[in-house]
Structure formats: C-alpha cells, structure tokens
Symmetry: C2
Subunit: 286 residues, 2 copies
C-alpha cells in the first residue's frame, strides 16, 4: 500500500493519530520537502516517529518514483507531505504510476493552507481560485497570477496567494560545474509578494488592484505562533517585521466582503483607521 | 483559552496529536454537530478521548455561547468541529464573542473537504468559489448556487458543491406544538444534488451546465471507504448506489481542466467511453 500522509502545517504534533500509526508501521518513510516545509527539522520528526526518514527531493519524486514505490504491492510505504496531500500541489504522477504498478493507495488527509487561511477572518466561500507567486528574476517575471486575480476580482472574490520557496537550489555557477552545492533555503515574504504585485500592476495598468487595495498577510498559519497583519498592499510591503519568520502567505480582498469579515480582520490591522477608511471606500458593497 | 479543534473528516483517529492533547486536558469539551458529522458516533469519540462531550447544537452556539465560553479566561475549553474549524463554515460569532470577553483563542487545524476533495484528481488551483446545495421544498428552491457556478464556469473553473445535512430538525407540527421531537437526520446525496441542479437549469435556461456536463460525485472523502464516481450530471442522478452511505459532495468540472485531471478522474468513470466522449467535446480546451 502507498500511503500519502498529510503532516499538517506546523510541527511534529500536527500529524493525525491515524497518520502516526501509518508512519510507525510502514516499511519505508519518505518526506516530500520541496513544495512546502514544516516549521521543525527532519531530526525532530525522526525522533518523534522513532523512524528514519528519506527526504525526497523533486528529482527523486519526478524521475525516480519507482524506487519510492518499490515492493509497495506487498509492503506499506508512507509518503509524507506537508499540509494536505492534495493541498497546494498534488502528486498526481506518483499516484498514476502506483496505479500502473497495481499498488493500492490510501490518503491520510490533514490541514491545508487552503482552509486554515480562514483563520484570518475571511469566509472560505468568498475565495476564488488560488494563485502562486514566484521570486522574480531580472529577465523572468511570470505574471499569470495577475490574470487569475483579475478574474477573481471581477466577481468580487478574495484571492489566496501562495508564496515561493526555494529549497536545494544550485547557483548557476555550481550547476554549470556540476557541483552539488546548494544555496541556503529562501522563503518569499509578504513584503516581497506585495511589492511584486504592485510592480506588475504598474506594468500592466489594468487597475486590477493598487497600493490602497486591502490584503491580509499571514505567517505560520495553523501554528502556535500564527500571525495575521491586515492593511493596504502598500502597508504590507513593510510589514515583514510584524509577521516574523516564514512561511508567509497573502490574501487580497475581493469586493464581496462581508461586514463580519471586516470586523474580524480589523483586529489584525496595522492601522485600524486606514483599514476602516479603505474598507468604506472599496469593499463590502455587493 | 478557547481551543477550536478540527476533527478531520472521518473517524476518531483523524484528530491530530496536538488536538488530542487539547481534548484530554480541557476543562470542558463541546462538539459542534449541526454543520457536518463524523462517520462515527459520539460514544466512540468519548471512549477514545476518555472524556464526556457536550453536543452543541445550533441554538446553543448561536444563542448561548456565553455558557460555552464560561471561565475560559482561566480554564481551557475545547470546541470540536468536524473537518477544519474554518472549513465549510466558520464560527466567527463565537470567536468575536470570545475576544470581547478577553479570552485567548487558539486553533488546531485539520483536514477539510475543501482540500481533501483533491483526491478526486482535480487540481485545487482550478477550483473557483465553493457553493452549497440545500434540500428544495415545494415553495423554497434557493438557486443562488446557480449564479455562483455561472461565474466559475465563465472562467473555466471547477465548482465544489457542499450538500445539505438536516440534523435535529423538527416537523412543522412538532414545532407548532412545542414538542421537542426531532426527525431522523437526513443527508443529501449526489443523486439528489444532480437532480436539483438540472431542475434549476431547466427553469433558468442560461445554459450554465446541462445533463451532459461532467461532474464527480464524492462520498466519505478522507475516510477509509472514500469513493468517487465520475460521469455526466445525468449519470450521477442515478449513481447513489455506487457511492454508498453519506456524506456526499459533488464537483462540477470547469473547462480549464487539464489532461492529467482527465486521466486521473477517468479511473472513477461510470462509463469510460462516455467520459472520454464528453471530455473531448466540452473540456480541456483552454
């Protein structure tokens, strides 16, 4: 059996009781560690599970899945995924390959940023499609998120923006020289995301949002130190100190927002006066 | 402290380790049991937790929240919610009241139908806003879901439809006579949902979807007996036997669907030939 086990969002105790039973009895345990991270180290997980873990990087999952799936027709293999196995990304290829090999599959769901973001006070019913924001480079500034946000905003919906992480990346020089030396991990902050969003709006000039648009920055959602900061995109460009360490996400508000959402999120406002003013001008009118 | 603890989607072992610790040490434990249900009885939960649980119905949560929050400034109160505390519904009022009373709040997230539905093979990035379907009555057929689906379909997105449950409902006669006698619980099936959707399309005639539109019925998502059935809305009207017992949900496909989604979900098709034909005609063209 191939078990896809969600680990939840924060630390070793966020696994479900059922998930923990699977991990303890599986023949082999893999941890997918390139689309998201927990806020604790692998060693903490291993001590907690009483098991050693193989960290599966992107290359292994995408090119060497048969090693992960080896003998899973008759043995139990646990593939651990931060959040929910179907949360921010999916492992469709791995499951399709398992099916080809006649390996039975079972999923152990867990918390995902896609529902836990509700802790910011915005109703999940009012969210449109989720988008991703990657680190811009000088000559690579993918802006497809902008069209997706435009679609959401056109019908009044909030947009959850998931932020890039860079784990086990090589510098161009090390890659060219074939040196397996990796850069320190990087996690995009709310400030960087808000800044990139405003740059793209300045380029495109379609008025999808602007510096005064309201948004909520979120840090370590689902964890004990979960933090939300609400304000305009301009304010969120400088709110990283308030938010603290990674992981960060951002929600851009849609106009269909409800007064209860305003009151709930107001608690997190950088400046309650500005929050009230911008809300009155732009939101809650549908 | 007020703890909002998600229980996950299926049985007593879906609680997280952190959630279980909270339940074991809290002074009082409430279970919100009117927006969703687990697939196991209260007695099973009580035996597993080693605690007695107060079932909180809608009236208690909405009108008597101060009893739930009593002394939570200094004691720990656990408020258990099926799925994720912010999943299908929110308990905004309870949290706002707790804030007024200066009660600290902590959330223990868990799996939600909103991410676990990814098990059907559709990418969560391609979902628009989630809608709800209630049991129609002769003179009450709320169809706001139709406009929401229209918005999602206009931009090619899938729609998750959450289905009504009726727990602790009184008949009109018993209500009029003030008798606290409750009807047996009712859970909407995928067949009933598909039927109501088609009836509303017949009324409105806007061509938002039709009998040949592809959808996926889902049953007991996240549980060990999780089942998906894929087909046209017409086929899903008669697929309840394949799906089995509650809870059910339904996903209507959007045109932005990807080939990987087609291949993954095809496994669940009532009739793979019809699935392929309808897909080729209607989907995956963006």
């Amino acid at each position: 059996m191939l078990y896809l086990v969600g680990l939840g969002l924060s630390d070793e105790t966020d696994i479900t009781v059922r998930g923990l039973e699977v991990v303890k009895k599986a023949s082999r345990v893999y941890l997918e560690a390139y689309t998201s991270i927990l806020l604790v180290d692998q060693a903490v997980l291993e001590a907690y599970y009483g098991r050693s873990i193989v960290v599966a990087d992107r290359e292994m999952v995408e090119s060497n899945s048969d090693e992960i799936l080896r003998d899973a027709q008759s043995e139990d293999v646990a593939f651990l995924v931060v959040g929910d196995p179907f949360g921010a990304t999916t492992h469709t290829d791995l499951v399709l390959r398992a099916r080809e090999l006649s390996i039975p599959i079972q999923t152990v769901p867990n918390a995902s940023i896609m529902s836990a973001i509700g802790g910011c006070g915005l109703q999940l019913y009012n969210f449109g499609q989720t988008v991703s924001m990657v680190f811009f480079l000088d000559n690579w500034r993918p802006a497809s998120f902008y069209d997706r946000i435009k679609e959401n905003r056109a019908i009044g919906l909030h947009t959850l923006v998931l932020l890039d992480i860079k784990v086990k990346e090589q510098s161009l020089e090390n890659m060219a020289r074939g040196r397996r030396i990796y850069e320190p991990p990087r996690y995009m902050t709310v400030g960087q995301c808000a800044q990139q969003m405003l740059e793209v709006e300045e380029d495109k000039k379609e008025g999808v949002y602007g510096p005064d648009s309201l948004a909520i920055g979120a840090a370590r959602v689902g964890g004990k130190t979960e933090t939300f900061v609400a304000g305009t995109l301009r304010q969120l460009c400088d709110a990283d100190d308030l938010l603290g360490p990674p992981l960060h996400s951002l929600v851009l508000l849609g106009s269909r927002a409800h007064e209860l959402e305003r009151d709930y999120a107001r608690e997190f406002a950088v400046d309650k006066e500005i929050w009230d003013k911008m809300w009155a001008e732009q939101y809650g009118k549908q």
